[in-house]
Amino acid sequence: MKIQYLLLFFLLQILHIKAQINCNIYKWAGDSSCYRACQIYETANHTRQGSRISQIMYDSVIAVCPNFDMAYMEKAVPYLKRGDFVTWRIWIDKAVTLNPKEHLGYRGWCRYQFLRDYTGALDDLEALEKIKPENIGYSVNGDYHLEIAKALCFKGLGQKEKAIQTIEAQLAIPDYSPGYYDYLHLAVLKIETGKPHLVIPILEKQLALSAAFAETYYYLALAYKQLEQRHQMLENLALAKKLYLEGRHRLDPYSNPDDRIYRKDLEEALAEW
């Protein structure tokens, strides 16, 4: 019974995550082919991702309405998640060509998330900024504003000050709601650029923003270590270990997030700090 509830939960999640399209826009425009394609697309979204039937259905959408960008995007996804990036690019590039405002940010994010292709991701995100300067939006998993993703790419390329400036500029936007990990990444950058005294207020904001997870306390401990405040360091390290062992640390089902910590980091810190 529990499995059935779980399956239902995951199905609802999938349905929720898949982009919803109002097929009537094609009907109202008198485009009966794309209206029909849209109906197939909606049905395809209920199939198992990457299954033969799913791929055939997206092909059918494309056959009926060759400009239906979402079908190319959905067809591409299983290749991305299963490590066939060459085939992924063939299909996602078609989606981007048809609708760059919709798909450039997604492609850029995926280049970062799956390959740490920092330069390629920045190319996409900066191209998106040119055509959508008002707001480039969020990563598909909702974890990051894409400006923060850009900052992570700058960091990956060794441009840490630029990464700091990018995050701080985003956080300074009056109506911006900070993302779940924005302060964490900013704090780590401050540590890595030799400014531990600036870290603690940043991580206090992180603690106020999100549920407790091990990384926040680990980096607090690291900042206290650099500030030579041993008692606070040990206190935070113990909390980090406790949370880590409870499984409350950064996780992404597809790849290991930047600035996540591992058991080895904690064991070494406890032994050596």
């Binding site: 529990k2 499995i3 779980l6 009966s32 082919s33 209206y35 029909r36 109906q39 197939i40 909606e42 049905t43 395809a44 209920h46 199939t47 198992r48 990457g50 299954s51 033969r52 039937i53 799913s54 791929q55 055939i56 259905m57 092909d59 059918s60 494309i62 056959a63 009926v64 299983p78 290749y79 998640k81 299963r82 490590g83 066939d84 990036f85 060459v86 992924w88 690019r89 799956f114 390959l115 740490r116 292709d117 390629g120 089902p253 597809y254 790849s255 290991n256 591992y262 058991r263 080895k264 980091d265």
Partner: protein, 171 residues
Amino acid sequence: MQIPCLLLLFLALFSACTPSKNVSVPGSNYPNNIGDIKPDSSLDDSTFRACRESNIPQYYSINSGFEGEKPAIKRYFDQNFKKNRSWAKENGYITVRFVVNCNGQTGRFRMLEMSPEYQPKKFSPTLSDQLLQLTKQMSGWLPGRSENIPYDYYQYLTFTITKGEITQIMP
């Protein structure tokens, strides 16, 4: 499972109100699931068996991983990958995809090579073969688990190669 899905497809294809030209369902050579690796006696260790051939999920859909997590994977390749000066112009990505069975044994290794521009390419065989062999020799993959049931799963490692050196391992 596939029959209801096919039914859905045909209902969707032919249920639109406006009659118009007939649409044929595109033919394809898709595997049952994108990324499936068929056993190949010319490539694979004949002793390797998946525990449940009909259901091998992807690494991201169940609990899976490597003993010692990503730092252990990185350390393994740092310690064992032998660089060669002749690879100074080798850049791109090498992905090794394989199956971890429900006992943590690995098999069915397949390699995909890609340029920095995401185009198919061939790396120097001495480089790509070394990565393939090292990946085959790894021990420490954890059996998949979901709801306390052991599972096989598909896993991959993607190596970013910059001037012949490993500069990133994903995921």
